[in-house]
Amino acid sequence: MNDLPRPALAHHHTPGLWPTVIFLPGYASDMTGAKATAIESWARARGRSCLRFDYRGCGASEGVFEEQRFADWRDDVLAMIDMVAGPVVLVGSSMGGWLMLLAALARPERVAALVGIAAAPDFTDWGFSTDEKMTILSEGRLERPNPYGPSPTVYSRAFWTSGEAHRVMAGTIAIDVPVRLVHGMLDPDVPYLRSVRLAELLRSADVQTILVKDGDHRLSRDRDIALILRAIEELVL
């Protein structure tokens, strides 16, 4: 990490039994989503520790969204892990599922387990057409219609090039903790075979991939959330 003052990150910590469950939102998302708040309610009801937060430039955290690099958000995850004591379980949604892998590699002694929800490692690589990549590189940014909100989703060159530099799916991923990967088979944004491939690459033997046949990318229906909570509960007990 560098010496520049780090922007203040908005976060919400619920004290309780370890391990602390930390929710990592997806790209341009924040900690107020249905999955993040459902995990917090679950933790409260069971006296368990939980932390949700916004990446810099996102939600209520300081910073300008388009200036953020992928590695900055990885550093935000590490800062959150370092802020709490004890073991942590990372629950990463979409891009958060990529960041959780980098965090588990950087903090192997702290990260006890991982839960990926439509995890999207390396999506800067496979998630853009050649034309889109050229637009990002030549014009510095790319706008895409956003199916989940009113304003378009923006990808900056700073973010994209940093993501490309942190790809992990080239070979065995040296993570040895239990991992659960939940993925909807109707996910239009991240093909579910990405989770199947990720399960193959993880070095851990305790990896389970849970495919929801009619699940979409957000996996935020009540029964999707119930499934995610069951996966978390199995790992924290």
């Binding site: 780090r6 203040a8 990150l9 976060h11 910590h13 004290p15 309780g16 039994l17 370890w18 391990p19 069971r46 006296g47 368990r48 520790s49 932390l51 800062a79 802020m83 709490v84 004591a85 004890g86 073991p87 002694e109 702290r110 990260v111 006890a112 903790v177 924290v236 007990l237």
Partner: protein
């Protein structure tokens, strides 16, 4: 990493050397028995004087009785390695003499090796102690318990379980045996067993901070935040300066808010 709360029971937790069996009158003269009693009294009440006395006796031909007495003098000065060496020496000499006390000396040596922090050597000594049928009853139970502690430190949790099961039968009134069994059961995720055994430890010793610490740990492993908080805070209240209280305080951090960034 999982929720690793240290195994309180496996940290050096030496027991005073168990009361040694009296020399058998048929094998040793009444004079030897009186000499032995005097030596052990001194080794217990004034260990440094006892060390001098035992050494004198050994030079004068006191044999393994004198060596064991010297071991007791060392143990009471917490000089564990010297004590373990003397007990082992006494055991070897007794074996040569075909004296069944050898098993007891091996058990004492193993206990001192544990206190010294050498579980591999402790295991070897305790294997020797338990290999013969001469060690019986409570002594066999305590030696089994000691070997279980050594096996936990060596990572052989299955072997430790077998020894603890035996110790629970032969030393059923020792709360530390039940505490150790509960801790091992928690570590191997057998929570029903952990809860049953810690309840027994609590019945036998209601004011022991390490028992309360484990009650908290088992509650935490069961996802019972209130029970965990109760056990840990009771451990701190009972013995604020103890190692158990320090571990309970560290665990209580779970209920504190994370520091602001």
């Amino acid at each position: 990493m999982t929720i690793l709360l240290a195994l309180s029971m496996v940290q050096a937790q030496p027991f005073g050397p168990q009361a040694p069996p009296k020399p058998d009158p048929s094998a040793a003269s009444t004079a030897t028995e009186a000499r032995y009693d005097r030596c052990v009294d001194l080794a217990t009440s004034d260990p440094q004087a006892g060390e001098v006395d035992a050494t004198k006796w050994r030079v004068a031909g006191g044999g393994y009785f004198a060596r064991q007495c010297l071991g007791i003098a060392f143990a009471n000065q917490r000089r564990w390695q010297a004590a373990a060496d003397e007990f082992a020496g006494a055991a070897q000499d007794a074996e040569v003499a075909h004296d069944s006390r050898a098993a007891h000396y091996w058990a004492q040596s193993g206990n001192a090796r544990l206190a010294q922090g050498d579980p591999a050597q402790a295991r070897r000594a305790l294997d020797a102690a338990l290999a013969t049928p001469t060690l019986t009853g409570l002594q066999r139970g305590e030696a089994s318990f000691d070997r279980a502690r050594a096996l936990v430190l060596l990572g052989d949790l299955e072997g430790a379980r077998a020894d603890l099961d035996r110790a629970q039968q032969l030393a059923a009134d020792d709360p530390l045996v039940w505490l150790a069994s509960a801790t091992l059961a928690r570590r191997t995720r057998d929570l029903p067993r952990a809860r049953a055994d810690i309840a027994r430890a609590y019945d036998l010793s209601r004011d022991d901070a390490s028992v309360m610490l484990e009650i908290g740990n088992i509650a935490a492993a069961s996802g019972d935040a209130e029970g965990a908080r109760g056990g840990w805070s009771e451990a701190i209240r009972l013995a604020p300066g103890s190692e158990a209280a320090a571990q309970a305080r560290a665990a209580m951090k779970q209920f504190e808010d994370a520091p602001k960034q």
